[in-house]
């Protein structure tokens, strides 16, 4: 125990109180009429605003959702056991908001902005309301810059642009979160000096975990930290044990934080993992507030819940700083049923979807992307020219392969051209397989796809493809670094580069076969 002099303590207290002025407090109050299931009905609070934050005793906060003739319906962000009938409720005069700022990066927070990682208070000066109106037409600019996910299958065939909303959809255990995390990890390169020299601006990431197990969230945070991605990432979490209102507002908090970066001319990527759980939380709230249920017992405005959230993703016009907010909503389907209510809603809102299939996943195709039905409605214009050049025939080859796949069973009875299509397709599928947390830079992706579509791997056995690709890059980076450099800097695939790749491939093929 350190010895402390009493006069030191009084000096500190005096210093703390120096700014205090004892003025009368004026506030407005109401009385709790009924409380339970995370909902409170309040009498009074005559001038309260919709979605205003109100304060209950014991430090519990709530948000006003229903304004009725003689009562106010309110959801609680804390334990409803701590609130009793007859308690006094205070207005705060503030619409529910979240503190925003660069200090949020690297932190794990609640949807209301309180730190959860034990790293002390977050020094921010600005707060923004969690519900903000999406931008209008004039303020927006068509999506033009690519957002590289580092996953070859996505960046080549389902390209995503900065400011786009791309849905990741699939059954449980198909790697939806893995795709999103890879995309976050891959943004590390945008924060390097090298990227800056190429004019690639950094992307700040926000991962919103809704209704997940706390252990899963802890794992995600640990992974992001291991791969050095936490430095530019904020994790917002409302876990399964948090009250439904917190799960409901979590994505809006994430969007607000992302908008802070966007409005400052920076780029942000928000992952909402996942919106099916958010919809379920909102259904719980709505039913408890006695709003009429509709299809699958979701309330009538569940479409609006998601559309107003995803509409906030945007690419700003140059006058407004040219910032962007890209959204990756995740939806979990049941038994591959994409025609359920929430999946169809979100599919129709977003600018495309990445569809993950358990069959592919179990067959070892990982990421388990079904490239046939996955689409990106705007990303093509955001692809670099070199990638656009090779992606066209990749898509075509894979489509032909899928068409003929059923015939593959007949083995020997096929004509030469069918056999060729099948063997090419099998190698391409193999080529697009990729491990987790192993993002590939775009120039390597272009060269790999180039090797595939030009049949430079057709002579290899299918299970040799990945090994060949890896070793080829090791070889070529040593011997022909100029072809990588050319694609990276010019973003084009010139004829000289093409012939150089072919030459390098032929050269390496002979070495590879000998070993």
């Amino acid at each position: 125990m350190v010895e402390i002099k009493p006069d030191e303590i009084s000096a500190i207290i005096r210093k703390q109180l120096s700014g205090y002025s004892g003025e009368a407090d004026v506030y407005e109050v109401g009385t709790v009429l009924q409380v339970g299931d995370g909902i409170a009905r309040i009498y009074g609070l005559t001038r309260v605003m919709a979605s205003e934050l109100v304060e209950f005793p014991n430090g519990v906060f709530g948000m006003v959702l229903n304004l009725e003739e003689d009562s106010v319906g309110c959801v609680l962000f804390g334990e409803s056991k701590l609130v009793k009938e007859g308690d006094t409720v205070k207005r705060t005069g503030k619409v529910t908001s979240i503190p925003v700022g660069d200090a949020m990066l690297g932190r794990v927070i609640t949807p209301l902005g309180a730190p959860l990682d034990g790293k002390g208070p977050i020094n921010t000066t600005k707060t923004l309301p969690i519900e903000r109106k999406a931008l209008g037409v004039i303020q927006r600019h068509p999506v033009k810059e690519p957002l590289q996910t580092g996953i070859t299958a996505i960046d080549s065939m389902i390209p995503i642009g900065r400011g786009q909303r791309e849905l990741i959809i699939g059954d449980r255990q198909t790697g939806k979160t893995a795709v999103a995390l890879d995309a976050i990890v891959n943004q590390k390169y945008t924060h390097t000096a090298e990227a800056k020299a190429l004019g690639i601006e950094p992307v700040y990431c926000i991962y919103v975990a809704i209704g997940q197990k706390s252990s899963t969230v802890a794992q995600v945070v640990a992974k992001l930290r291991d791969y050095g991605a936490m430095e530019y990432t904020t994790v917002i979490t409302a876990s399964a044990s948090d009250p439904a209102p917190l799960q409901f507002i979590a994505p809006y908090s994430g969007a607000t934080l992302g908008e802070y970066f966007r409005d400052n001319g920076k780029h942000a990527l928000v992952v909402y993992d996942d919106l099916s759980k958010q919809a379920a939380a909102y259904r719980e709230l709505s039913l408890l507030l006695r709003r009429p249920p509709g299809r699958e017992a979701y309330p009538g405005d569940v479409f609006y819940v998601h559309s107003r959230l995803l509409e906030r993703a945007s690419k700003l016009s140059a006058e407004l700083g040219g910032g962007s907010l890209t959204a990756f909503p995740i939806i979990e389907t049941q038994q591959g049923d994409v025609s359920a209510y929430i999946p169809t809603n979100v599919i129709s809102i977003t600018d495309g979807q990445i569809y993950l299939e358990p069959n592919l996943f179990n067959a070892g195709v990982r990421p388990a992307i079904n490239v046939g039905i996955s689409v990106s409605r705007v990303g093509g214009s955001a692809q670099i020219k070199a990638m656009r050049k090779v992606a066209g025939s990749l898509k075509l080859d894979l489509a032909q392969y899928r068409e003929l796949e059923a015939f593959a069973k007949f083995g020997s009875d096929l004509d030469a051209s069918t056999t060729k299509t099948l063997s090419r397709g099998a190698r391409l599928v193999e080529l697009l397989k990729q491990g987790q947390y192993a993002p590939v830079p775009v120039e390597k992706q272009v060269i790999s796809v180039f090797l595939g579509i030009n049949g430079l791997m057709d002579v290899l056995a299918v299970d040799e493809v990945k090994k060949f690709e890896k070793e080829f890059h090791e070889f070529a980076e040593q011997k022909y670094p100029e072809m990588y450099k050319s694609i990276r800097e010019s973003k084009q695939l010139s004829d000289e580069t093409s012939s150089l790749i072919k030459k390098a491939a032929d050269e390496f093929l002979s070495i590879f076969k000998k070993s």
Partner: protein
């Protein structure tokens, strides 16, 4: 306090009727008188609210109690309630009436809680300030609460003006805790 639809509707017509007859002041006095009688005699309240007692019996009891004590307007109103089988709601209607009358006349009732009795000067000052702030006629009622240590707490509708020592101490406590005061 919240009133049922029935009470609000009847109180409204009661007030309008009194206004048409030009007897608002008398009726207001009647209402206060009846409420006082009821307060003084819980049996009467229980009888009026009881579902077992027949409405006709309730009316005859009430008429007997009220005859000669209240104006003809009120008597007629009580009879009318009997006819419409709403006599159970009488007391709620009367409460609703008092609130309604305040609203119609632009009067706001306010409660002042203080640790020590207010002096005349203080009372005048508070009243003056409240009327300036809310731009309405204010009727003060006072109560003593030693819990607040010093100062006063004024309640006007949903708004609370808290100038008590207790609240100020709470604010100081909050400030000290939030400043992350440490001795290192």
């Amino acid at each position: 306090m919240r009133f049922s639809k029935v009470a609000t509707v009847y109180a409204n017509s009661y007030f309008d009727f009194a206004l048409a007859q030009g007897k608002v002041d008398e009726v207001t006095k009647d209402v206060a008188k009846i409420l006082e009688i009821v307060k003084g005699s819980p049996e009467l309240e229980r009888t009026i609210k009881s579902p077992i007692v027949k409405p006709s019996a309730k009316i005859s009891i009430l008429i007997e109690v009220l005859t000669g004590r209240v104006s003809s307007v009120t008597e007629r109103f009580v009879n009318f309630l009997g006819e419409k089988n709403r006599i159970d709601s009488l007391i709620e209607i009367l409460h609703a009436y008092s609130v309604l009358k305040d609203v119609k006349e632009g009067v706001v009732r306010s409660d002042v809680k203080s640790a020590a009795p207010l002096s005349n000067e203080q009372r005048k000052e508070i009243l003056q300030r409240l009327e300036n702030k809310f731009e309405k006629k204010i009727i003060l009622s006072e109560s003593i609460d030693e819990d607040i240590i010093g100062g006063f707490v004024v309640t006007v509708g949903d708004t609370i003006i808290d100038a008590s020592i207790k609240n100020q101490l709470l604010q100081v406590k909050k400030k000290l805790i939030n400043s992350g005061l440490s001795l290192n």
